[in-house]
């Protein structure tokens, strides 16, 4: 298990992965807190026993027949967004072809 304290650079990277825009003061605030928590949960590295297998009855898929049922209307589904166009949610471009 990875030992050693989490660094501000790592916190910045994690925040970026999680789409959280942290300010520099926030990064400084969170770094020691996260370090303490990660350090605490790291104690599981001491557990060497093999775990029992997950019972078969716990792992089962649930399915239903492929029938169409009424659902939310488009108007209703779009109604809570501040950014829509016709029947679409508007978002930033993911692929930039320029």
């Amino acid at each position: 298990m990875a030992q050693g304290k989490i660094t501000p650079e790592e916190v910045k990277k994690i925040a970026s992965l999680a789409k959280l825009n942290l300010s520099a003061p926030e990064i400084n605030k969170f770094t020691p807190q996260l370090a303490a928590i990660i350090d605490y949960v790291g104690q599981l590295s001491a557990v060497e026993e093999k775990s029992p297998p997950i019972p078969k009855e716990e792992v089962q898929s649930v399915s239903r027949t492929d029938e169409v049922h009424p659902s939310l209307t488009s108007k209703s589904a779009l109604g809570q967004s501040s950014s829509t166009q016709k029947n679409y949610f508007v978002t930033k471009a993911v692929i930039d072809n320029d």
Binding site: I14, L20, F30, Y40, S51, P52, L72, Q80, S81
Partner: protein, 466 residues
């Protein structure tokens, strides 16, 4: 015993026309308006809707006096934790990110309770996203403990516990992912139920950790808790993890004799009971069970010392996934409105799931979780019910733990195990300390053994107040 009206008291009094539903609901709404400014239990009060439903209930009752057979909760005032989606009624999850969110559908449990006739008076305050064990992480201010205005109500179902204790509602819904129904129930002196994972549908309830979330409720007494579960439990096509197992008539099984039931006491917890009041409450519970001719047996849960660490890897991992949907595009505001605790948990989850760390943290935690579950399976081969404390201390002071997130996490020690194992638990008050702060204990049972849990809890409650 509580002076607050219970569900059965209300339905009896409505049936014999002691008062109308409208009069009853008006009385509760008046009390909410008077007390809520001090307690901050409610985020939204739905006065107009409640009075409308009350009038309809009075009409139904006058046309069909036997309606209680079909609608066992007719006219009973409740409120929902603000994680429960309520169609066209603001649902915030305790967060400014959703401060203007109007759900377009209601949670399955909301629909079930409404169909049974219960009348919702509003939406209850909670730690934002259910992240917390005090109520202090709510973006709408903490809920105050009705027993002491300087202390927390517990969390994350803070408003639910305070509202039931202060008689603002007869019962309230809650969620329990790591203790969030049982701990505030204990801090406020009411009954808090965490059903078996999958016993009650999670559909339409803001997800925290999808393998740990359990949908519970807080009530004035054990009978009411059993009655509410009869309504909320059952399979739901909208929740693939909901169980098809038959829902028992829990209220009819309360008076079964409990002599000779084997009650387990966890060996590993005994040294940790350092708080004088909590130790006293536990000792009282043990001696009460002995007077009831139950057999007390020491059991060992050897992996219980890893519970908090296991929980604080698995839960944030699932939180980081569940909170990814809040991108401000389809509903709510942008992610910068997450509070500190949400950001911490999202980041811990992202870290432990990330490449290079996944095996060492998340996968390891999932394996330890199986060891913890196996400990409980082994224990329940030996005993019927486990008796345990709920929290290391009674309700603590506002601000006491807010500077140290890890210290707050460690206070979950007695509650997270039930969530990791998926088993049911019920928190019951045992009395008060010398400062009038409520004290309690919890009973835990094996999967889907709620009938056994309620049976013992009911008799225990009767004995304590005999």
């Amino acid at each position: 015993m509580t002076k607050n009206k219970t569900i059965s008291q209300i339905t009896t009094e409505l049936a014999c026309k002691k008062y109308s539903v409208t009069e009853l609901i008006k009385e509760y709404l008046d009390r909410i308006k008077s007390e809520n400014p001090k307690l901050n239990a409610f985020i939204t009060i739905t006065e107009k809707e409640a009075l409308q439903e009350a009038q309809e209930a009075d009409k139904t009752l006058s046309q069909n006096p036997n309606i209680f057979l079909e609608k066992p909760l007719l006219g009973v005032p409740l409120a929902h934790k603000d994680l429960f989606l309520t169609k066209n009624i603001k649902t915030t999850a305790g967060s400014r990110l959703l401060e203007n969110y109007l759900p377009q559908y209601s949670a399955t449990v909301v629909k079930k309770l409404s169909k049974a006739g219960a009348i919702s008076l509003g939406k209850l305050n909670c730690d934002a996203w259910a992240h917390g064990a005090s109520g202090e992480n709510s973006d709408f201010g903490p809920t105050i403990n009705p027993a002491d205005p300087t202390r927390v109500s517990g969390g994350s179902s803070s408003g639910s516990a305070a509202a039931v204790a202060a008689d603002l509602v007869t019962f309230a819904t809650g969620t329990d992912t790591g203790g969030s129904t049982r701990q505030p129930a204990c801090f406020c002196g009411v009954i808090g139920l965490k059903p078996t994972y999958g016993r009650v549908s999670r559909s339409g309830i803001v997800a925290m950790a999808s393998s740990l979330d359990s949908i519970g409720h807080l009530t004035q007494n054990v009978y009411d808790s059993a009655l509410v579960l009869e309504t909320t439990a059952g399979p739901d096509p909208y929740d693939a993890t909901s169980s098809n197992l038959k829902v028992e008539e829990y209220t009819k099984l309360l008076k079964k004799p409990v002599e000779k039931l084997k009650i387990g006491i966890i060996k590993e917890y005994q040294d940790g009971l350092t708080d004088h009041d909590v130790a006293g409450s536990f000792a009282l519970a043990k001696s009460t069970l002995e007077k009831m001719n139950c057999q007390i047996k020491e059991i060992s849960l050897p992996h219980t010392k890893y519970s908090v660490a296991t929980y604080y890897i698995i839960m944030p991992a699932e939180v980081s996934s569940n909170l990814a949907r809040y991108d401000g595009l389809r509903y709510g505001h942008t992610r910068d409105l997450f509070g500190d605790e949400a950001k911490r948990r999202i980041m811990i989850g992202t870290y432990t799931l990330s490449s290079g760390y996944y095996d060492a943290y998340y996968l390891r935690a999932m394996k330890v979780r199986q060891l913890i579950k196996a400990d409980f399976s082994q224990a329940f081969a030996d005993v019927d019910i486990i008796l345990s404390p709920v929290a290391p201390t009674p309700a603590f002071k506002l601000g006491e733990k807010t500077n140290d997130p890890l210290s707050m996490y460690l206070s979950d020690i007695y509650t997270v195990t039930a969530n990791l194992a998926g088993i049911p638990g019920i928190a019951i008050p045992t009395g008060k300390n010398s400062s009038n702060l409520p004290l309690g204990v919890q009973f835990l049972a094996n999967h889907f053994q709620e009938a056994k849990l309620f049976n013992l809890a009911y008799q225990f409650e009767q004995h304590l107040h005999a």
